[in-house]
């Protein structure tokens, strides 16, 4: 297959140097913490298992063992009898930092709504790390999240995956080694934003034409770099043989001009950047899957997918995740067919990858409650969804969507010790995260003022009355 070849060849031999270079690199380092032994908890492992009355041991920022094993004598012991333990929750769709609280215009940096294709922008360059929303999400058990650009544009730019730790910079939060996302958008938003300016796209067919034109440019860009790489490899061995090859070597060994927009799109074509596609309607999602075949890339996750339940089988067959809301509908006509069973129905087929996402600074604080609502609707529709299955929607499936499932999202030995201790079964309005560990470090503890991080913004507000 041409596509398979391209994927293999570019990944292993010819890569765009600038794209591989780690720019704006993560400076996050886990906070060193003593080992912790959690005893007698009800554990939802994140990958479908429930273990009752079970011990869990974390050390050096990693899950060491679950069930049986030895613990260091100086390990902190947490009596988790009657408590539930889950992996840290992961939100694949957040605008924290790019549409922060308070919602002032000068901080609304989530949509570069000046052109329909802005693949060149990176959400991380808009993130305000002092958004108090990060700390609230932490109190809700969220340990990692993807910050995405908005959906005004067809190609909105790159998303970034962050660890939910307090920091003065996004670099200090950046999830080490996590791939970038590419935010794309279907439907009403791009065509409304640009159509209202008498500019393309103003229709859904205009949307698709503009995506395809951009992909064609990206393919040529990728080809130019491939040719250049080939030429520099071959040129090194052949140079000086004759005048013609000297000339051609000079021509082909001049690197193509870097283009930030096409660099992102080429990264998506190569599979280095994961495609996150905002898309509500079933028919549009199928159009997008056909387009992905035309250009040989993979759609990783459809976001919002209010009609995903209509094509749950196709999504499972293609291995595409659906990042969905539990109950949002009706705020626009492409959201008119929303049903509360959407998540459960996308989860149903073999290989289905359902995710509960928030897209909301309120929802991200209560992903467990959102998942509970979706679980309830699935069960009332006759599907059998126990907690250990539903927890995947906000842990391992989300990690898979972000390409970090080999690092977090599951309580497996060797993975990051991103752990939440809940006061009870988390699928309830009364559930609260008692403790949240990020890489083994206790980052939040309910009711402990020393472990309730507060953003700079909130410090010293409302001091009108003499204290």
């Amino acid at each position: 297959m041409h596509i398979a070849f391209r994927f293999f060849a570019t990944l292993t031999l010819f890569a765009i140097p600038a794209a591989l270079a780690d720019v704006f690199p993560s400076t996050y380092a886990p906070v060193p913490a003593p080992p912790v032994l959690f005893q007698n908890a009800t554990v939802l492992t994140g990958d479908g298992s429930r273990l009752d009355n079970t011990n869990l041991y974390i050390r050096d920022g990693r899950i060491e063992w679950i069930g049986e094993g030895s613990a260091a004598p100086d390990a902190t012991v947490v009596n988790a009898k009657g408590k539930w333990i889950t992996p840290g929750l992961i939100d694949v769709h957040s605008h924290l930092g790019v549409y922060p609280s308070p919602g002032v215009a000068a901080h609304s940096d989530g949509n570069e709504a000046t052109a329909p294709v802005t693949a060149e922008v990176w959400a991380e360059h808009s993130v305000w790390p002092q958004d108090p929303g990060f700390t609230r999400a932490l109190a809700g058990g969220v340990t990692a999240m993807q910050i995405l650009p908005g959906s005004a544009n067809l190609f909105g730019g790159r998303g970034v995956t962050l660890k939910n730790v307090p920091s003065v910079s996004y670099q200090g939060m950046k999830f080490p080694g996590a791939p970038h996302g590419l935010k794309m958008a279907c439907g009403e938003n791009p065509k409304r934003v640009y159509g209202n300016r008498n500019q393309a796209p103003s229709t859904r067919m205009g949307n698709v034409a503009a995506y395809r034109s951009a992909w064609i440019k990206a393919q040529r860009y990728l080809d130019d770099w491939d040719r250049y790489e080939q030429a520099t490899v071959e040129g090194a061995s052949k140079s000086g043989e004759d005048a013609t090859s000297m000339a051609s070597a000079l021509l082909t060994t001049t690197p193509p001009k870097r283009d930030l927009e096409l660099e992102t799109l080429a990264g998506a074509l190569r599979g280095d950047i994961l495609v996150h596609m905002h898309c509500y309607r079933a028919d549009e999602m199928l159009t997008i899957l056909d387009m992905a075949k035309e250009f040989g890339y993979r759609v990783g996750t459809f976001h919002h997918g209010v009609e995903a339940y209509k094509i749950a089988e196709q999504l499972a067959d293609e291995g595409v995740c659906g990042a969905l809301w539990a109950d949002w509908w009706g705020f626009k006509i492409e959201a008119y067919d929303g049903i509360q069973e959407n998540i459960a129905l996308v989860d149903r087929p073999e290989g289905g990858c359902a995710i509960v996402h928030s897209d909301s600074d309120e929802g991200i604080q209560r992903l467990n409650q959102e998942a509970a609502k979706a679980m309830l609707r699935g069960n009332r529709a006759g599907l059998d969804i126990p907690p250990e299955r539903a927890i995947r929607w906000i842990t391992s499936n989300a990690a898979k969507s972000l390409g970090i499932d080999d690092q977090t999202g599951t309580l497996k030995p060797g993975l990051m010790a991103d752990v939440v201790v809940w006061n009870q079964n988390p699928f309830s309005v009364y559930a609260k995260a008692l403790q949240v560990y990020v890489d083994g470090s206790l980052t939040y503890e309910q009711g402990n003022p020393d472990l309730n991080p507060q953003s700079d913004f909130e410090l010293g507000q409302l001091m009108g009355v003499a204290q």
């Binding site: 308070p102 600074d361 604080q365 509970a372 679980m375 309830s428």
Partner: protein
């Protein structure tokens, strides 16, 4: 079928369309606190006849064994635009706000009830989740006073309105800024229109004579809901309400806890979204999860709204979270059932003989996201628990349907 019922009501005036008697046995009545006893509820002609024990076996048309499940009055869906907003961004289906009207006047007579559509798909979607009534709001437009609404039952009636006229007033920072650069502009104009109540019609500058009549009526027997978050704005609203001698309610109220003693002293209730815990604006720097608990403890009546119309059903979760953060359970149940009806002058909504038979049998704790409404009874009629959404679900639930899905028409 509901349309037939409606037709019958239209044709026969006040005649009750169906005179079914319903007996619910073994119901746990949440409004009676922590009682472990169960009760039986007899309903006839749309009214609760008896709530007692030992009715099992009585001759009725329909008997339902609640098997200990909780039963409450049908819930209050909060302040919404149900029936005024079919699809948010399809603007010719949205009738909840007055904006860019050419007159330049303030229009207290603008009444969203004139635009109410009981056939909106959002109404059954909300009803099947255990909701029986809502407060129809005039949404914030570009005037300090948005207009009026009232309670409405979610029973499909064209004129199922109840209670007092409710005026919606916006005095938060965003409203003031739009109005004239300062929230002071809101108070300037509100003072001016209330002054015009004493002006002869021919000299009115800011209102029509109809507006003046509507404002006078609301002042005499209505309720004014002030949308405000910042403590100082709420205090200003309390002063205004005292000066004008009007019945006031605060909505939003994210900083209401800061001035809870004043609210309690003034007897002014607060309608909040208990999930608001972020400083979403500089008006809400004090937002916190235990707002409801603190207000209640100080003696302030707390009601809930979700800020949503299509997803108005989310207000159950809002109330549940307030309990998770310290509001007594009984207070949350009252806020979802009896209190809004009393505050806005609607029919009594308690499970007592003589009350409207608007009630719900829940699968479990109705304030938890792990439970749902099993049976909804509105006006003594058992709802079929169907909506556009349940139909869509049923169409797509079969994994291998024996016919194209377009031919699967749930009934």
């Amino acid at each position: 079928m509901r349309p037939l019922v409606l037709l019958a009501v239209l044709l026969l005036g006040n005649m009750t369309a169906l005179a079914e008697s319903i007996l619910i046995t073994n119901a746990t009545l949440l409004e009676r606190g922590a009682s472990v006893d169960t009760y039986d509820i007899l309903i006839a002609d749309g009214v609760i006849e008896q709530v007692t024990q030992g009715l099992a076996g009585a001759a009725v048309d329909i008997a339902i064994d609640a098997e200990g499940r909780p039963v409450t009055s049908a819930f209050f869906a909060g302040i919404t635009a149900l029936g005024l907003n079919e699809i948010g961004m399809v603007y010719d289906t949205v009738d909840s706000r007055l904006q860019d009207l050419y007159t330049g006047l303030i229009h207290p007579e603008f009444d969203v009830r004139d635009a109410f559509n009981p056939y909106s798909s959002a109404i059954p979607v909300t009803r099947v989740e255990g909701f029986g009534y809502t407060l129809l709001a005039a949404a914030p437009g570009d005037r300090p006073l948005s207009g009026q609404g009232s309670l409405v039952r979610l029973d499909g009636g064209f004129s199922s309105f109840e209670g007092k006229p409710v005026m919606f007033v916006n005095v938060d920072g965003a409203a003031g800024n739009k109005l004239g650069g300062s929230r002071g502009a809101s108070w300037m104009l509100l003072n001016a229109i209330f002054d015009e109540l004493a002006v002869p019609n021919k000299d009115l500058k800011l209102m029509t004579p109809q507006g003046k009549t509507a404002l006078a009526e609301a002042k005499k027997r209505g309720v004014f809901i002030f949308r405000a978050h910042r403590a100082s704005d709420i205090v200003r609203a309390l002063t205004f309400a005292a000066e004008q001698n009007i019945q006031a309610v605060i909505s939003g109220g994210q900083e209401a806890w800061m001035i809870r003693q004043q609210l309690a002293a003034a007897g002014v209730p607060v309608v909040i979204n208990a999930l608001d815990n972020l400083p979403g604006s500089f008006d809400a720097l004090g937002a916190r999860l235990d707002n409801a608990a603190l207000l209640h403890e100080a003696g302030v009546t707390v009601l809930f709204t979700s800020g949503e119309t299509h997803n108005a059903r989310k207000v159950r979760q809002v109330a549940g979270n307030s309990v998770a953060y310290g509001l007594p359970y009984d207070a949350a149940i009252a806020a979802m059932t009896t209190l809004p009806a009393r505050l806005f002058g609607g029919e009594e909504r308690t499970l007592a003989s003589g009350s409207r038979a608007d009630l719900v049998i829940w699968s479990g704790d109705p304030l938890d996201v792990s439970s749902a409404a099993d049976t909804v009874i509105i006006g003594g009629q058992i709802d079929n628990m169907q909506s556009r959404q349940t139909y869509l679900m049923q169409r797509y639930l079969p994994e291998e349907p024996d016919k194209a899905r377009a031919y699967i028409t749930p009934r």
